[in-house]
């Protein structure tokens, strides 16, 4: 009788206790989250915490190829030159100056003297020569850097401050070799066989050996990466002691973390998440112009490099007039407003407008004009059928597969809009969302009609232009079809000829003219219909850190640039410490109040229960 009601109360008290513990955990957690120094250290330490949704795939510069990995590599290892933050022109870094021989086949770089790696060993031209030669001669090592080294014969270091590279054909990229110079004394002991599985992560308590502004101190896969300042950095010790990358699985979590001060910088935000940060005290939004374009790509006639047709793409899309007509059906402005939330711009050619020097603004722009699209389609011989879908002369319906990428929100949303725009002019698009891997496979095999994807374009246009050459179509390797760079299977000998010219043209002005010509050719032939250039949405705690460097000036990206300018210049705002804890202090107060209330309510409840409950239980 009494025992039973007592037991009931005990159980309920335990439940209340569990609740109390949870709340206490919450408060303690809120308190502990304010301590931003990972290891107890003497004195105050400034740490910039960057939030990202992409983890690096590998810390090994020969293996990793994600954007996040490249960011880490450029922090750890120096390059000969770096793209300037104002206009992407090559700026001296490891190389103080450089000269080209008269026959354009030998480049000589003067390397700075007196430099040291982070472990004190001398950093000289020998390390640079070692790195280049390793890539030139290594089968695995060239995977990520072949675009730079394919043209190279060898690299030599006749003395510690001179590096000579000989190449096969004249090349405009020798001033912009984005190859990370590695310490020979560390890497020479990792041979060809070991290098593909070498992690390049530091042992506990140590850092990787590097020559860049920051060194890797700790990496927990899927969670965070800690980079500490390199005291031996040739550009001077950075003003921030440590930079942490915290990996989030979704954007909402990252934005909330920024609001609460768990992180100081959030990169690559989605439009809606970015907008939710408006008006948050201490947080500054930064919609950086960016070099990414999104496109609706067509299967213009999939075939192997040898010319043999492959895949099951609709032959109707070989008709240039059809593709060009569809370009007039797309409302790019609406896409920017609705899919990007206004944070982007309408796109025309494949070299984004951020590269002001190289971007071509076509004289014959394609705008949103569904009536014109319909006219062009009629003129091209596609009459509207009884169900509203157009029909070709041979009776085939204009019904195409449109693939979007299931893990990319912009892709998922875009394809819904594209489907609507195409339907409005009588073309049926059957939408399917698949993973990027699955789509890559379909593209390589030519088993698609249309898809939606994006490209991020480097400052040097060579790579992007080359994706449209005949030579970059899929090829046969040991009997199986292997994908190459081309995802539209565009093949135009005139275009190839121009590409050959620009890749060996040393004169900048002449080269720019060729690049613009090539953009016009692609614009007129429409293997892609470009939809928009997307802004890189960043947000950071301006109440804690300052001196971020945009690239290009004035409103380019602050982080994940073609360079480490921000990392070398950013510094804490003085008087910033402790202010951001005020919100969690409020939380603390509220939490304590709730706890007291729950405890009080619990006591009252059980006292009352004790009196009435016992009576009910005893009724038997």
């Amino acid at each position: 009788m009494r025992a039973r009601s007592r037991r009931a109360r005990v159980i309920a008290a335990c439940a209340a206790g569990a609740l109390a513990m949870g709340v206490t955990a919450g408060l303690a957690g809120a308190a502990s989250a304010d301590s931003t120094s990972p290891t107890p250290s003497s004195g105050s330490k400034s740490v910039l915490t960057i939030g990202t949704t992409d983890d690096i795939d590998s810390a090994n510069p020969f293996t990793g190829y994600s954007v996040a990995a490249y960011e880490i590599f450029q922090m750890e290892y120096p390059t000969l030159t770096m793209y300037s933050p104002t206009d992407f022109s090559p700026t001296p870094r490891l190389a103080e100056s450089w000269t080209e021989s008269a026959d354009h086949l030998t480049w000589t770089y003067k390397i700075r003297s007196g430099l040291k790696w982070s472990d004190g060993a001398p950093l000289t031209a020998t390390d640079a020569a070692y790195t280049f030669n390793r890539i030139i001669n290594g089968k695995y090592e060239q995977t990520n850097y072949d675009s730079y080294t394919a043209n190279m014969v060898k690299a030599e270091a006749p003395d510690p401050t001179t590096l000579i590279i000989t190449i096969k054909k004249p090349s405009p990229i020798m001033e912009k070799l984005y190859v990370y110079i590695l310490p020979e004394h560390i890497w020479k002991s990792i041979d060809e066989k070991a290098v593909s599985s070498y992690k390049n992560e530091p042992a506990p308590g140590q850092t990787t050996v590097g020559g860049g502004a920051f060194l890797m101190a700790e990496r927990r896969t899927g969670q965070f990466i800690r980079m500490v300042a390199n005291p031996n950095f040739f550009g001077g010790k950075p003003k921030v002691d440590e930079i942490d990358f915290k990996i989030f699985k979704n954007q909402d979590a990252m934005a909330l973390a920024l609001k609460k001060g768990e992180i100081d910088f959030a990169d690559s935000l989605d439009a809606n998440v970015y907008k939710s940060l408006a008006g948050v005290p201490g947080v500054t939004q930064f919609p950086a112009v960016y070099s990414e374009f999104n496109e609706l790509a067509f299967n213009t006639g999939a075939a192997l490099e040898s010319g043999k047709p492959i895949g099951d793409g609709s032959p109707l899309l070989k008709d240039k007039n059809l593709r060009v007509a569809l370009g007039w059906a797309i409302d790019r402005k609406s896409l920017v407003d609705k899919v990007l939330g206004g944070l982007g711009s309408e796109a025309d050619t494949i070299i984004p407008s951020m590269y002001a020097n190289l971007h071509l603004t076509p004289a014959n722009p394609v705008t949103y004009n569904p009536d014109k699209a319909k006219q062009l389609l009629d003129a091209a011989g596609y009459k509207v059928g009884p169900d509203g879908i157009r029909v070709a002369a041979d009776g085939t319906k204009l019904s195409f597969r449109l693939y979007g990428r299931s893990e990319n929100d912009i892709s998922k949303k875009s394809v819904q809009f594209l489907k609507g725009y195409l339907a409005a002019v009588g073309v049926e698009a059957k939408v399917d969302l698949i993973s990027s891997d699955a789509l890559a496979e379909k593209i390589g095999a030519g088993n698609y009609d249309m898809f939606e994807w994006d490209w991020v374009v480097e400052p040097d246009p060579n790579y992007q232009l080359s994706t449209f050459t005949c030579a970059n179509r899929s090829y046969l390797d040991s009997g199986s079809v292997t994908a190459n760079l081309s995802d539209s299977f565009y093949c135009n000998p005139a275009y190839d000829a121009l590409n050959e010219k620009q890749s060996t043209e040393p004169d900048v002005a002449a080269r720019t003219a060729i690049v613009k010509q090539m953009q016009q050719m692609l614009y007129d032939d429409a293997p892609y219909i470009l939809t928009f250039y997307i802004d890189n949405l960043e947000a950071y705690r301006s109440d804690r850190f300052t001196d971020f460097v945009p690239q290009p000036a004035p409103n380019g990206s602050l982080l994940f640039q073609y360079g480490t300018w921000t990392y070398e210049s950013v510094q804490p705002v003085t008087n910033a410490a402790g202010d951001s804890t005020s919100s969690s202090k409020a939380g603390l107060a509220i939490g304590i109040a709730v706890l007291v209330l729950v405890a009080a309510a619990g006591v009252v409840f059980f006292l009352r229960r004790g009196r009435t409950g016992a009576r009910a239980d005893d009724e038997e």
Binding site: D252, N272, S276, K413, Q416
Partner: protein, 305 residues
């Protein structure tokens, strides 16, 4: 049987059976009518079905087209938009009502499929002794063991993204539970006297299963079906939420998926999250209440104390 004049109708065995069944049905419906939970569930279901059927009359299909949405995104509930707008500016109320069609269609179809498979295998594995029955029981157990969600995800990824695939996937992954229950009931029915007689009189297996076992497990099947519907609807919501449904179809799960992907949480757009979820809860809960009511009527032990 009346002693008055007139009816010279011959009373055939079939008509006696029919009369008995009709009486049983009447008893059942009046008992069900007395169960408040069950009646509430029934009313809610009827309302949702009505809304689903009337959807095209209430909101034009074009309200689902993103390219024709004119309102601002993420508007909170107001007099023009009772449930606010979504991330593309579409009317959330329209989305939810049209979404009912897919969610209910998939839920019901998948249930029919899983009940059909589960009941057939359950009866057969309970009825056939020896190797056949044992083998079927083994297969049932195997499928019970495989974790449902990973299997469903894999199948949906392999088979592609469409409504029919989801129906098949749910049907194929949820039959074991039913099979188990039906098998147990079949075993207990199998020991009854009249089945012995049917066997002795030379009735084939199919005759026994069809005419004797099936009608006797039917009540259990019925009770199980309502519960199976709630599981199917929850499964469809989960699979659509994870992005495995038809990308252009609007269902409650896909609305939640879009909301989650587009920052509804961090933007505080509670209306966008609450509406489809509450619909799922209401419908599933209603089927659960109905199932419990049916179980309560059919299970003699539940009656009385």
């Amino acid at each position: 049987m009346s002693t008055e004049a007139a009816p010279t109708k011959k009373l055939s065995p079939n008509s006696i059976v029919r009369a008995r069944r009709r009486a049983a049905l009447r008893r059942f419906t009046s008992a069900f009518g007395r169960d408040r939970g069950g009646m509430l569930g029934l009313v809610i279901i009827v309302v949702f079905f009505a809304l689903a059927l009337l959807a095209p009359l209430l909101f034009d299909r074009s309200e689902l087209d993103v390219t024709q949405a004119t309102a601002d995104p993420y508007l909170p509930p107001s007099r023009t938009y009772w449930l606010g707008t979504d991330d593309s500016g579409r009317n959330v109320l329209a989305l939810v009502i049209w979404g009912a069609r897919i969610s209910l269609l998939v839920g019901l179809s998948a249930t029919v499929l899983s009940m059909f498979i589960g009941t057939s295998i359950g009866i057969m594995s309970g009825h056939f002794r020896g190797v056949t029955g044992g083998a079927m029981d083994r297969v049932t157990e195997w499928f019970l063991v495989i974790p449902y969600l990973p299997l469903a995800i894999v199948l949906a990824t392999v088979l592609g993204k469409s409504i029919w695939v989801i129906i098949v996937v749910i049907g194929v992954t949820s039959w074991p539970g039913t099979a188990r229950i039906i098998r147990a009931q079949t075993l207990s029915v199998g020991s009854r006297a009249y089945l012995e007689r049917a066997r002795v009189l030379g009735g084939s297996n199919w005759h026994q299963m069809g005419r004797h076992v099936l009608p006797n497990v039917m009540p259990l099947v019925l009770a199980n079906t309502t519960l199976a519907v709630s599981i199917s609807i929850l499964s469809e919501t989960t699979l659509s939420f994870l992005g495995l449904g038809d990308p252009t179809a609007v269902s409650w799960g896909s609305i939640l998926e879009t909301a989650f992907d587009n920052g509804a949480i961090s933007l505080g757009a509670w209306w966008y999250l609450a509406a489809p979820g509450l619909c799922v809860v209401l419908v599933v809960m209603s089927f659960n209440f109905m199932g419990r009511a049916i179980e309560g009527i059919l299970d003699p032990r539940e009656q009385g104390a």
